[in-house]
């Protein structure tokens, strides 16, 4: 009788361990690599896709969409910083953003996990200023007038709009460049080159 009880207990404990493991596997959230997608599109989709090298004759207006996708498994408070640069301006990279004097504006949004947010980006090159060899542009971004100064380009050279993705870090209470990856922040940025004629 005691043997039967011992066998029963052994089998029961083993099966409990097996079924509990299966339950743990089923109810545990699936592991997923966190990432955030970032894109610049025009309203017309592929028909009017954002060309990489544009020549703009002021005044000219563009209606673009900044698309940010959140797959980090948590709500994100994001900020897109728009900067202007030329061919000699240092670019952002995976760890650090571009230098600050070139900032033109910023846009903020809250994005739930698994959602994609479309941020309107309407910009106009209104006019140009020439100081010596350098050309500066006067822009309007989402209704706000800004100047490219101190960033200028030699006549005939190109400018570029740089878009950087920043996310709010609750621990530090401030926006950090990039998004929280598995180990550290992952810097994300885009750029669109253009030249100004006239």
């Amino acid at each position: 009788m005691q043997d039967r009880l011992a066998v029963f207990l052994v089998v029961f404990v083993c099966l409990t361990a097996i079924f509990s493991s299966v339950t743990f596997y089923i109810i545990s959230p699936r592991p997923a690599q966190p990432f955030m997608g970032f894109g610049v599109f025009s309203h017309q989709g592929l028909q009017g896709f954002v060309p990489s090298n544009m020549t703009i004759t002021p005044p000219q207006t563009f209606d673009w969409n900044l698309t940010v996708t959140n797959r980090t498994n948590k709500e994100q408070f994001i900020m897109v910083i728009v900067r202007i640069g030329n061919s000699t301006t240092s670019s952002p990279n995976v760890t650090s953003p571009a230098p600050t004097p070139s900032e033109l504006g910023k846009m903020q949004r809250f994005i739930s996990d698994g959602e994609t947010s479309n941020i309107d980006f309407t910009w106009t090159i209104k006019s140009t200023n020439r100081t010596g060899d350098l050309v500066f542009v006067n822009l309007q971004i989402n209704g706000q007038s800004v100047s490219s100064g101190p960033v200028g380009a030699v006549s005939g050279s190109k400018f570029r709009l740089i878009f950087e993705l920043w996310t709010f870090d609750l621990a530090s209470g401030s926006f950090q460049y990039g998004y929280p990856g598995e180990i550290s922040q992952v810097g994300t940025w885009l750029q669109v080159w253009f030249s100004v004629s006239g």
Binding site: R4, V7, F8, V11, F12, L15, T16, I18, F19, S20, V22, T23, I26, I27, K74, E75, F77, Q108, R109, F110, I111, S112, D113, G114, E115, F168, L170, G173
Partner: protein, 167 residues
């Protein structure tokens, strides 16, 4: 002496008028900036509440409307800042207050969703493990007692069978 008596009330009246003017100029400006600061803080607090609700197990579908509401609060806060820069103090204050109200609603909603999710998820976890233990018990009985169960079934079948006397 008489001159002094006349000057004192005049000086007092001048001081009173000056202080009233100063307070009317400075008070709304400082109040307005305080409201915008509060609106910013409340946005962050609401964001933190959503994060906490996520950790407690609230689903994305439940939290999505709160996130949308928080974006509206952010728009109000941004327009409050723009209006303040333009010098439209009262409109800026109104926008900031709307932002604060929305952020507060989001915080309350997120906290409610979080505690709901926490309770239901711990209940479901306990239920899942209880089912696992019950299944383990059932399987143990089936594995160890198969022979006895088969024997009982066979005996019942025999008892039910009609006796053929071989007419």
């Amino acid at each position: 002496m008489r001159m002094l008596r006349l000057r004192f009330p005049a000086a007092l009246a001048f001081l009173l008028i000056a202080s009233a003017l100063l307070s009317s100029v400075t008070h709304p400006a400082s109040g307005q900036s305080t409201q915008i600061l509060v609106a910013k803080q409340d946005l962050i607090q609401a964001f933190q509440s959503i994060r906490t609700a996520e950790q407690q197990g609230a689903s994305n579908a439940d939290l999505l409307p709160l996130s949308m509401q928080l974006n509206t609060a952010l728009q109000y806060e941004e327009s409050a800042e723009i209006l303040s820069q333009q010098g439209n103090v009262s409109a800026a204050e109104t926008s900031a207050v709307q932002s604060i109200n929305l952020s507060t609603q989001v915080t309350v909603g997120a906290e409610a969703l979080g505690s709901q999710a926490k309770n239901s998820s711990s209940y479901l976890t306990v239920l899942a493990y209880l089912i696992a233990v019950a299944l383990a018990l059932l399987t143990t009985v089936v594995v160890l007692e198969t022979n006895r169960i088969m024997r009982i079934a066979r005996r019942r079948r025999l008892l039910k069978a009609e006796i053929d006397y071989g007419k």
